[in-house]
């Protein structure tokens, strides 16, 4: 049975994000993912507030990276959260977003190795080990918590490229795939399967999540309008191979990229085509969204994550998802 997750970007006041988190729990979501960007509210502060105001939902960073936060500190943060909400904490970790890292002057060095080493350090620390680690990216000379961690914390790898996806299958408890279209999800799940098979596991041993850009409203035009800004950024950041997979003109994508770079939002958003919306979002009325989720389930996903913008009005959208979409996938 598919599980539903929801992603919030803590760019608004903490109480709005927590209001929506409580609402998501009440409406039947299983997972809550909070993004980690230095220019928004801090992910662990937001998650700590989540522990106070929720009772059931599983939550974690979605996703943090090994460059801006040292693995030892990430291990400490999630182990501490897991003490406040035992068994409800997960960790999403990926290589990070190059544009954000560039802003901070931090180099994205050996992303695959960095994520792999980071996961090893975090796993060992959160299992209570004293860790000495000599890696290619990280070196830990001897670290151990002065408190007893409260059990194993599942680690999800945020992945897009084939090597990261395979690694996620090999060492992750889950994988967060940034994609919305069956073509991309099929490709990604095949890569995950390679890693799973290398590790002698089954695909069902890994929680495979489609981490989507999602917009729902009873009125298709309103849902689409809300999706356009997010899709423009996805198009601008997508490699040629992905754009070509969807038959998207590379020249149009370049024009969007240039317009965004120049902060010409209206121009960038005006260049977003229906094909781009189709490729890079799950968008429409509840019935249209149900149809797309059904297609994605056939690709082998086990979690569907509703990501930004969620809908033109977040509160209304969470209600719609909880009342019209999630029940269609429950026995």
């Amino acid at each position: 049975m598919v599980r539903f997750g929801i992603e919030f970007v803590p760019r608004e006041a903490y109480w709005k994000t927590i209001y929506y988190a409580i609402q998501a729990e009440k409406k039947g979501f299983n997972y809550l993912w909070i993004t980690d960007h230095f220019n928004n509210r801090n992910v662990y502060v937001t998650l700590t507030a989540t522990t106070i105001y929720t009772d059931k939902i599983t939550f974690g960073p979605g996703v943090t990276n090994p460059y801006l936060v040292n693995p030892v500190i990430t291990a400490q943060a999630i182990a501490s959260l897991n003490e406040a909400a035992p068994g409800r904490v997960v960790l999403g970790i990926g290589a990070g977003d190059k544009t954000t890292l560039d802003c901070t002057g931090v180099e994205m060095r050996k992303p695959l190795t960095a994520v792999q080493e980071c996961i090893e350090i975090i796993r060992r620390m959160t299992s209570g080990e004293s860790v000495v680690f000599e890696g290619e990216v990280f070196r830990v000379a001897g670290t151990k918590f002065l408190f007893k961690p409260r059990g194993r914390i599942p680690i999800y790898v945020g992945a897009q490229g084939p090597k990261m996806l395979a690694m996620a299958g090999r060492i992750g408890d889950g994988v967060l795939i940034n994609a919305c279209h069956p073509k991309d999800i099929n490709y990604a799940v095949d890569c995950v399967k390679k890693g799973v098979s290398e590790a002698g596991k089954e695909l069902t041993d890994v929680d495979v999540a489609a981490y989507t850009s999602f917009s729902v409203h009873e009125n298709l035009k309103k849902a689409t309008k809300a999706a356009v800004p997010v899709v423009s950024f996805i198009v601008a950041g997508s490699p040629s191979v992905v754009l070509e997979r969807h038959g998207i003109d590379l020249k149009s994508a370049e024009e969007i990229r240039e317009a965004l770079k120049a902060s010409q939002w209206g121009q960038a958003f005006g260049l977003v085509s229906p094909e781009m919306i189709e490729a890079f979002s799950v968008c429409g009325t509840p019935d249209m969204c149900i149809e797309r989720i059904t297609q994605l389930l056939k690709s082998g996903i086990s979690q569907f994550v509703v990501g930004s913008p969620i809908g033109p009005n977040v509160r209304e959208a969470i209600n719609l998802i909880g009342e019209k979409i999630i029940p269609r996938f429950k026995p």
Partner: protein, 101 residues
């Protein structure tokens, strides 16, 4: 303890709101607060009181509704009066609020 952060004026006012109007009022006030761009006007204690009552499903009860009303007046005073007067015809509530504040 949570009652301490909510102005007693609002407690007295919400006690007079008819039961059949409470759910709709609560819903409209939440919408006004969530879409407000004046989030910096929300006192943290009041925000926490709203979250506390929301988690427990108490935003239509006196304390929850009082917290919502206070927050709405702080963040969106004109919109709040429009909700009370124009949309829900709660003229007495508006009079009480204007008299008390």
């Amino acid at each position: 303890m949570l009652r301490d952060v909510i102005d007693m004026t609002y407690h007295k006012v919400v006690e007079t709101i008819p039961l059949e109007k409470r759910e709709e009022l609560s819903d409209k006030l939440i919408d006004a607060i969530l879409v407000s761009k004046n989030e910096d006007k929300m006192p943290a204690g009041l925000a926490n009181a709203i979250l506390y009552h929301w988690q427990r499903g108490l935003l239509t009860r006196d304390a929850g509704l009082a917290a919502l009303l206070e927050a709405a007046v702080l963040l969106e005073p004109d919109k709040t009066m429009e909700i009370l007067e124009g949309e829900l015809q709660l003229m007495d509530i508006v009079k009480q609020l204007k008299r008390s504040l």
